[in-house]
Symmetry: D2
Subunit: 336 residues, 4 copies
């Protein structure tokens, strides 16, 4: 059960509600976010919801049978919109495009990428500065220095940035620079990281685990939300299956299913979803057609020379074509 | 290596070619289809292809490194078009729609289904008369009698029919009635059935196995082609993964990958691909956007009362909407 | 519900029972096997089982909630023993070993294999004469001629044989020669084949599908049993997963789970389960320790020269060591 | 390439070696562990290994083609033994048993668990104090306080403890108390955590990821080793597949394959591997038979009342039986 508390609730009223919920046999968790205050009641006993709902200090009350509560659409039917400032909104009924290199590499690379985005009216740039690499001997990213340079250049061009955070200590290190924190597929169930991201007031995009279920993805989002941060975005990036013809199997099914289950925006990552440059476009367009609020993909001025993910990175011509076609496909979908 | 023989080749020339290929150390298989005659050479030794290619009686010769040869686009770049007669073509640059119930149930059901298709200008009707059911106690279909009634009614309405064949003995039983034989996901590697379907002159649509790789699907098609039947269609229908939110995981990646690897038409089955009625439409549209030559889906006048697959079957209003949107999405894709 | 009918039941009594079950709202299927006669009632309504059970002509009655009924241990607690004659029993509390080449190749090969088995007191020989091959250009087995030669030689040495049947028409072709019909992993859901194997009086071993669930394996066994043949054996042979270090992932979990769910004997196939010669032994021993009634594996006088499955085939020295160790491990398990 | 440096190497000699390796075109990483010093060379060019090997200051040099180097058995054939002190060794040719509750709950529970272990001569106790839970509303463990109490009680009974570390900041917090740090399945690719665990001098047991490949598990171990910590143990705990009859699919294949690929000890976790209490014993015994150096499993004085993992936890009678049988099975294996 989710009890949305009135903004002007008194401490006494709050205690009274807690007591009543405890009486029913439910355990409560208090959640205070940027936007509101909630009591989450966890339990199994049947009870008359009006019994609680009529107490003073409650603005709304809902039963939610899912294991995840606050991110469920059973409670909040209106879709969440993330506002990055300067007119950049995610999930507001327009198409969000996030593009950029796998890794931030050099000043020149940043400059050319930004130029490409600006020319195509793309407002969000992706890029890794702390890279999760399965081998300890591989390139691990430019770190904080790279991030600072990138952020400075992006800001002066009116571009927002999204970058992966890999551990708790990096949150503070990255906080001033990034506009959206990305939780990568290997960290979807790094619960300490999720807890800490719940304590900040910046948007977080959570990628589905490499073999994560949709239920687990929603529970990970619930971690951040119940920690106090409502500014959440989900990302489908393909799952691990036995099929070897593609790097991952893009689970396009996940897109309409997530849109039904949660009020959070859903972004598709076709670069990781198929892992083969020549097929990134059709999978991106298919994902938009299936209902995605946006796409995130890898592009680089010369993909062959990219430090990482070269085989799934588009060049700028391919990227421009994808942007144009994505917008057309989105318009067709919205016309339905 | 694929050696395409000249139509006017003499027996002596054919023997000379075989001898030469044998000399190189390759095993040959002779393939004679409705359209042409081929020698398939299997081996690993390096050799000068001109050495063979210059012999009389050869119209064309190709090296094909894939395990599947005749269905590979490395050999035949032009896409295969399947002609069902009366102006019904599959894979010719227009969108193919195949719709109908999971199982053929009653005369009234057939009648209403046909009416629905005719009104929406859909030319191919799907329906099962021999049903593969995992429990021996479930409904197994109306069999030959149902098929005869259905075929008669469909023909008089100008509708072509596709239906699943489950065993060799059913080929003859169904031959006069069906326009396309469907090989189901449980029979994709029923090699005897594939062998026999190679001996007939009717189109065959092969569904991907429940956990079949794309490589295996292509090899199954190679069975039919090398048996003598070039009229082949492939169908992606979702694979088995750990995700429980959907019945199967529709592998949309498979669509552009297959279109790259083979010259055969590729059809998407969103009904089985996601298995949930409310999401059949977005997955169908996504599949078309990803490059499918057509879709096959389940529709029924009252899905709740369908004998099988009720939870993934569209009613006629949903079906009509899907048909209209599919055509619009296809047009957008073709405009790219 | 399973109603076991009395051997001396009258036609009138049988009709009375059917009527009563129909009145409750259940659909009945009559099953007559080599051993007994049953009525299987399928339905969902609650009812008092004594109401039916007290009718004349019934020797026993059970509720079985599983989708599979006759193969469930909820009905038949005593474990099934398969008698191949000449003192060769499967599932009777001793360890069954089935060994031999992937494919029957030559007279000499058969001779040496039989000699190896006789010396090690192994009573059942495996071997393929009709081979399911994913490529149409690969070796497809010696067929009936090979089977006849093999059966003659095996019989004179007191060896029973098990071989794969791939289609309905092969049942009659193989009937006189084989002692156990094997249904391969690609045919586990070939329901027509299962139906026909239900009509014969020879043991059938069903392999789990390449990505088949245990539920599906049990339902496939139910097909054969409900067709009239109780002489059934199940075989775990590894499933398809994303792990590439082994050919398949041997699902050792399946062994104790199947032993709990069904009264049928369970055999392990470590050759396909791991697919790597050097690890066949530990996986075989682990499977026995987990509760398998026996093992089936591939051995050849010179594995490198085997026509198929060379990389997972043991030589005779390795095979002898495996046999000896298997028996020791089995004894330890039985001592618990 | 792995270059093992001489203990008495001079700085000048070290530089000379680095230079030579750089000349060949290889990138070097210097690794200094508790035991020795290494230069890891990463590159693809062919070269004469004697050219480098003859330089002064080198005690040994090896080519290792795997992506993981220091954990590979291609380099170090002798198996690693982990010494926990007081005569407790892991991987030394005796069977290691680690048992205890999923979560540390109460003083009484710790006391009874220790008593059970001492009576059965088990020297290592498992238990969670920081619990990774997919729902934020579930019990998350007793934390540091619980750990301190537990460690004090265990020490006075001569019991070593293993517990999961979930984030970098917990390493220091847990350091004085735990004898082995466990990296859980959700953190196998938490590379920052692995990096930090490379800087300490305490043993680390890494669990395979929920859908992790063996290659990835070995690469994660390489992280810790290349960070400076050679005291590593690997743990197979089941993988995620489509099969729903068990919680996970225990990949018993992984055990002999890992033992072949790496010199590190391999422990099996049958509790998570099958997830069903009644089958933990056969899977534990099967894992030992397949070559595991030990087992880790969950036991509790009254499993029904355990705060977590109740359905896969053994009671003390079942645990005692498992311990006794495990030792017998291990002895049989070692006698081979």
């Amino acid at each position: 059960m989710i009890i949305q508390l009135d903004k002007k609730i008194s401490e006494k009223e709050r205690e009274q509600i807690k007591l009543m919920v405890k009486d029913i046999g439910y355990k409560t968790t208090r959640v205070k976010t940027q936007i509101g205050e909630y009591l989450i009641g966890i339990g199994k006993r049947e009870f008359d919801i009006r019994q609680v709902g009529s107490l003073p200090g409650i603005s709304d009350i809902h039963r939610v049978s899912d294991d995840y509560k606050l991110v469920s659409r059973k409670w909040k039917v209106n879709r969440t919109v993330i506002d990055l400032g300067d007119g950049v909104l995610i999930g507001n009924g327009t198409l969000t495009i996030m593009a950029g290199p796998c890794s931030i590499e050099t000043e020149k690379q940043i400059e050319e990428s930004i130029k490409h985005l600006v020319e195509n009216n793309v407002r969000i740039m992706r890029g890794g500065v702390f890279k999760p690499r399965s081998s300890p001997y591989a390139f691990r990213g430019l770190g904080s220095e790279g991030l600072k340079l990138w952020a400075m250049m992006a800001r002066s061009a009116g571009i927002k940035i999204i970058s992966e955070v890999m551990q708790v200590s990096q949150i503070a290190e990255m906080y001033d620079e990034v506009d959206v924190f990305q939780v990568g597929a290997r960290n979807t169930q790094n619960f300490n990281l999720l807890d800490e991201l719940g304590r900040i007031d910046k948007p977080v995009m959570i990628k589905r685990g490499i073999s994560g279920t949709l239920e687990e993805l929603l529970s990970s989002a619930e971690y951040v939300f119940s920690g106090g941060n409502e500014k959440l975005i989900l990302c489908e990036r393909g799952i691990r299956t036995y099929e070897k013809a593609s790097r991952n199997t893009m689970d396009v099914n996940a897109i309409p299913i997530l849109k039904e289950k949660t009020h959070l925006p859903v972004i598709a990552d076709p670069s990781h979803g198929i892992g083969l440059r020549e097929f990134v476009e059709p999978i991106a367009l298919a994902s938009i057609m299936a209902g995605a609020d946006g796409i995130i993909y890898e592009t680089h001025q010369s993909p062959e020379r990219a430090y990482s993910d070269a085989q799934q990175t588009l060049d700028f011509m391919e990227s421009e074509r994808l942007i144009n076609r994505s917008r057309k496909v989105f318009d067709v979908r919205e016309s339905f």
